[in-house]
């Protein structure tokens, strides 16, 4: 008989699930095989040791100390509920805004002259924005022509800052090489 088969019988015997026939076979094998008999003795010893060794209990004040560490579940539940309500509101808010806008501007938009007037006002807004931007750019260009040293100094300052930050990073982050 294979040792693996004997081992399976040993495990079944430990669990009290070995049939009477197999029980006899195991006994006769153990009488004949010294190797299996020694392992069976060791298994029985360990099985008995584990079964007889009592469970360990924690210190007497364990429950109190654990209780003190428990988070406040009611507060947590309240926070979770508040977050859910906020999420629900954040989902409903855009819908409410759209409904309000439709009710407020719907009648105006249905007027025949409303769309051309709206387009004209958008066009005028864009024209004003373009004029302001052009004025700003031309002012910056005029300043650079009159004061060419200012952008030059700014570039030099930026270069110095960039250089020093690079040196600082090299000093701080590079590991020292051990000779």
């Amino acid at each position: 008989m294979e040792h693996d088969e004997i081992y399976t019988m040993m495990m079944d015997a430990l669990d009290g699930e070995l049939s009477a026939t197999d029980h006899g076979e195991l006994e006769s094998h153990l009488r004949a095989c010294l190797f299996c008999a020694r392992e069976w003795q060791a298994l029985l010893a360990i099985d008995a040791l584990f079964r007889q060794t009592p469970a360990l209990s924690p210190a007497v004040d364990f429950a109190q100390r654990t209780l003190a560490r428990l988070p406040n579940r009611r507060y947590r539940l309240w926070i979770i509920s508040a977050v859910y309500i906020l999420l629900l509101l954040s989902g409903a808010l855009p819908l409410l805004l759209v409904a309000w806008a439709v009710s407020r501007f719907g009648p105006i938009m249905s007027e025949p002259a409303a769309v051309p007037d709206l387009l004209a006002s958008i066009e005028r807004t864009l024209q004003v924005t373009g004029t302001v931007m052009r004025a700003l750019l031309s002012a910056i260009g005029e300043f650079l022509i009159q004061q060419p040293a200012v952008p030059g100094w700014l570039l030099v300052m930026a270069g110095i800052v960039f250089l020093w930050s690079g040196i600082y990073q090299q000093l701080v982050s590079q590991p020292r090489q051990v000779q």
Binding site: A13, L26, E39, Q41, A48, L49, L67, R74, L77
Partner: protein, 193 residues
């Protein structure tokens, strides 16, 4: 609805005192599992506390169709396995000599000889368990100290019954080899098949 279910329902509503009853009822199995897995009293207490805190915060995910003890021990064993993995990352070994369990040292009710015997027995148990891989150790502890069936162990360890049978088979075989090397043998009356 039994007493335990009442406590759980009250704890779910945020009643800490009700959960305190749960802690008192399960502190020994939870702590024992953590100690057998981690082999260190301080770490075992920390693991047991963490298991209760996790159970409390996740009470909503507990399915009353299953046994609460199975769910709680599952949380405990998962936490212990994580701790063992972290230890490995720190290159610490479970085989290192660790302080004996304080409850054993402080128990004055037993005589010094009985105390010494008990300490030796516990140390032998821990040294044998330390020979096993964490998942084998987990299966052995649940089988012997928590008297769980293969089905219950499979539920705790989130695996199949056949996988548990295989783990216990290999674990016992490994223990037998260690036992032979240590020349362990039972009393004659226990050796009868």
């Amino acid at each position: 609805m039994n007493e335990e279910q009442v406590w759980l329902e009250q704890a779910r509503q945020g009643d800490k005192a009700a959960f305190g009853k749960i802690i008192e009822a399960y502190q020994t199995p939870v702590y024992n599992l953590a100690y057998r897995m981690l082999n260190n009293a301080g770490e075992a207490e920390e693991a047991a506390q963490e298991a209760f805190i996790r159970a409390y915060t996740r009470l909503d995910s507990y399915d009353p169709a299953h046994k609460f003890s199975t769910w709680l021990l599952s949380i405990t064993s998962n936490y212990c396995i994580d701790q063992i993995r972290k230890r490995r990352a720190l290159l610490l070994s479970i085989d290192e000599p660790l302080a004996p369990h304080p409850a054993l040292m402080s128990d004055r009710s037993k005589g010094p000889e009985a105390q010494l015997m008990m300490n030796q027995q516990q140390e032998l148990v821990q040294s044998l368990l330390a020979e096993l891989a964490p998942d084998y150790r987990q299966a052995v502890v649940l089988r012997y100290w928590h008297e769980m069936s293969y089905e219950e162990i499979a539920e705790v360890m989130d695996t199949s019954v056949s996988a548990i049978k295989s783990r216990l088979f290999r674990a016992r075989r490994q223990l037998a080899e260690v036992g032979v090397a240590m020349d362990l043998s039972p009393a004659l009356e226990e050796a009868v098949v």
